[in-house]
């Protein structure tokens, strides 16, 4: 389906990406009704466990075991307003120091983005 001449492989230099992420992790700024009624509150005021799914989104991540290069169970770690998020895998460190992998760029406001090379991590074996 293509001429052999163009099969010639060229080794391309891989750019080192030393730049640090500057992406904001700002959370919700819009008002959402509280679970109790119509009194306005923010989705981010709810815990991951009490997050009202109708109006807000539970943020879920998987704990990364960097040494074993595998992912732990899916864990609810935050609550924020529903929104469309960018489809890039995102690694962030939680307040407890654990590193999580998220399926998109929406992460809890109290998490810190980290640079991590994705390695097609599989699920960790059950303990």
């Amino acid at each position: 389906m293509r001429p052999n001449a163009l099969y010639t492989a060229i080794a391309l230099a891989c750019c080192a990406c030393a730049a640090q992420s500057t992406q904001s992790t700002a959370g919700s700024s819009s008002a959402a009704p509280s679970a109790a009624g119509t009194v306005a509150s923010r989705c981010t005021d709810f815990s991951a466990q009490t997050c009202p799914e109708a109006t807000c989104s539970t943020l879920r991540g998987r704990v990364l075991d960097a040494a074993a290069n595998c992912l732990g169970l899916d864990v609810a770690v935050g609550c924020e307003e529903q929104r469309a998020c960018d489809d890039a895998l995102t690694y962030a460190k939680g307040p407890d120091g654990r590193i999580f992998r998220f399926s998109n760029t929406c992460i809890p406001r109290d998490f810190t983005l980290i640079q991590h090379a994705a390695a097609n991590e599989r699920s960790c074996p059950a303990p």
Partner: protein, 599 residues
């Protein structure tokens, strides 16, 4: 992901009553099994059975009731339980403007021979660049006329809706809303939602809970897709004259890359990465970016500042959706009405997880993410088919693991989608007939996705995108006309009376061949019929017969907007590629088919 046995590719000769494909459909009255089979008379039939295996008349299979109000909004309204509570909604308008076309005047197609030079065919007649260019002028004029009509229709609908509390629009807002393709976003009283549906149901297609757009702040990949060496060394494959519109949570600042117009949106790392991927793949395409994620306006679609019209949309953003939703409808309508092709990220919810909307759209090229170091689909790449429409996702895969571009190394289907968008721009410069004809653009990309990526067809789709595979040795066929045109084409193709549109093509024994067929569908039809057993408006099937009449390969899905077959030619001679219209449920839809033969 491929629903259980929803697609069967035949590799052996046809027998009497050969089963072609089977799909299970859940309804309020149980599960029904639909089967397509090839009869001994070489015609395709369907059979419907209930859970006990008993035959059932098709008309007896019930639809699932659907409401214009989305499930998420219904849940929210119940939770609010107060008529005066405020809720922000997306109101999708019934702004369909039918596209038409001639139902006659097909030309007979003779046998097409292999040639290293890419060639094309319009409605059965061989067409060179000149014929395609003249036809493109016609398409542009018709699209502009339809756009003006649609704008008038939206204005009329919006004026009527302006009488509703919370929907009043100022003159400027009216102007902007009529120029848009997406839904009207308004905050209204909860009690007005049902009143809107009751009193204005003929104007409103869907009401959904609004989601705020987020606005916060490569090289091996290019080799793997044969963009480098390949498109980057070919002067006719740089994206020159092609506008690509990116939309996600934000956009890089003006001046960040060359040949770029910032329409709206604040700076994000993610957008720096995705736009840089696109720039690397397609050095001369004109890039537009608008954030947060949204469709271009009518004015933006036509280009700005003398820069090219938007032909391609790249969206690396979405929210997980297990079903075909109103957003899919709006994006399908946009592509159908404006002859634009969309490359959409599949999402990163694992191969058994949901695609992110509007990636379930029938007209989207939804792109999974593979690791170009191992040629393996990423475990994180989404691949679950929508549960209510069952169309197969993703269509194909592109590199997306650890892509270093724009100063950031990122992974995910976000990085895969701009690869495909850039390859489309390069191909549209090289082969201008791919412009304004998304059916061929899609069939071309699927036919060229010949890189073998491990992970299974459910997760990968038809294969890994490859630029050079679609640059040499292919033939694009295009048919276009009104809904009835399919029959005209079938009757005037040199093999009348068999009900299929046929192409005769010479292959040599042992030659690997990929054939792909794609056709656009109206989102309005699929959304309105999403509770039906088969919500796709037009169901086409694809078959390839050897010179001795044996069926070599076939693709006869129930709910897909494309078909693809791969085979090795068993003998030298003239093959028959047959397109059958299995169902013509949406008679308001045009006959628009793209077929690409790649060898």
């Amino acid at each position: 992901m491929l629903s259980a046995a929803s697609l069967v590719t035949l590799v052996t000769g046809a027998r009497a009553d050969t089963e072609l494909s089977t799909v299970k459909v859940d309804t309020p009255r149980g599960t029904f099994v639909f089967t397509k089979y090839l009869g001994s008379d070489d015609k395709v039939y369907e059979r419907v059975q209930d859970e006990r295996g008993a035959g059932v008349a098709i008309a007896a299979v019930p639809s699932t009731p659907v409401s214009p109000i989305s499930r998420a909004l219904e849940v929210e309204l119940r939770r609010l339980n107060a008529r005066d509570a405020r809720v922000t909604v997306d109101i999708s308008l019934r702004d369909d403007v039918p596209r038409g076309g001639p139902d006659g005047s097909a030309a007979a197609e003779s046998v097409t021979n292999q040639s290293i030079e890419p060639t094309g065919t319009i409605n059965g007649a061989r067409a060179g660049l000149g014929e395609f260019a003249a036809d493109t002028v016609r398409i542009s004029r018709e699209l502009e006329e339809a756009q003006a009509t649609r704008r008038g229709l939206r204005l009329e609908i919006l004026n009527k809706l302006s009488s509703v509390e919370g929907l009043q629009l100022s003159g400027r807002e009216l102007e902007q809303a009529s120029d848009a393709f997406g839904p009207l976003v308004r905050t209204i009283a909860a009690g007005d939602v049902e009143r809107l549906v009751r009193e204005y149901g003929d104007l409103i297609a869907a009401i959904d809970l609004h989601q705020e757009g987020k606005d916060d702040t490569l090289a091996t990949a290019l080799a793997d897709t044969s963009v480098d060496p390949g498109a980057r060394q070919l002067s006719d494959s740089q994206g020159t004259g092609i506008g690509v519109y990116l939309t996600e949570s934000g956009c890089p600042p003006a001046g960040f890359i060359t040949s770029y117009t910032l329409l709206a949106g604040s700076n994000t790392d993610h957008s720096r990465n995705t736009t840089s991927i696109l720039r690397a793949v397609s050095p001369n395409a004109w890039l537009y970016c608008r954030g947060p994620a949204d469709l271009p306006t009518a004015a933006q679609l036509l280009g700005s500042g003398g820069n090219p019209r938007v032909h391609i949309v790249s969206r690396s953003n979405g929210s997980a959706a297990t079903e075909y939703v109103a957003l899919d409808r709006d994006w399908d309508n946009f592509t159908y009405d404006n002859a634009v092709i969309v490359s959409k990220s599949a999402g990163n919810n694992n191969t058994s997880g949901a695609i992110t909307a509007p990636g379930n759209g029938l007209n989207m090229i939804t792109v999974g993410n593979y690791n170009d170091a191992t040629n393996t689909i990423a475990a994180s790449s989404s691949a679950a088919d929508p549960t209510n429409t069952r169309n197969r996702k993703p269509e194909l895969a592109a590199p997306g693991e650890n892509i270093d571009a724009g100063g950031f190394t990122m992974s995910g289907t976000s990085m895969a989608a701009p690869h495909v968008a850039g390859m489309l721009a390069d191909a549209m410069q090289a082969y201008p007939w791919l412009q304004l004809r998304p059916a061929i653009a899609k069939s071309h990309m699927i036919a060229a996705a010949t890189d073998v990526i491990s992970g299974g067809v459910d997760a990968v789709g038809e294969g890994g995108a490859d630029y050079l595979s679609g640059y040499y040795a292919f033939h694009d066929f295009w048919w276009w006309g009104g809904n009835g045109y399919f029959n005209t084409a079938a009757d005037s193709d040199g093999l009348p009376g068999n009900g299929s549109v046929d192409v005769l093509f010479n292959f040599s024994a042992g030659q690997p061949v990929r054939v792909a067929l794609a056709w656009p569908n109206r989102g309005t039809y699929t959304f309105d019929h999403r509770g039906d057993p088969h919500p796709i408006g037009i169901d086409l099937d694809l078959y390839v017969y050897a010179p001795n009449g044996t069926l070599v390969s076939g693709s006869a899905s129930w709910d897909n907007p494309y078909e693809a077959v791969s085979f090795t030619a068993p003998q030298t001679g003239t093959y028959r590629v047959a397109i059958r219209r299995f169902a013509n449920r949406d008679t308001a839809a045009i006959s628009d088919m793209g077929l690409t033969i790649n060898w």
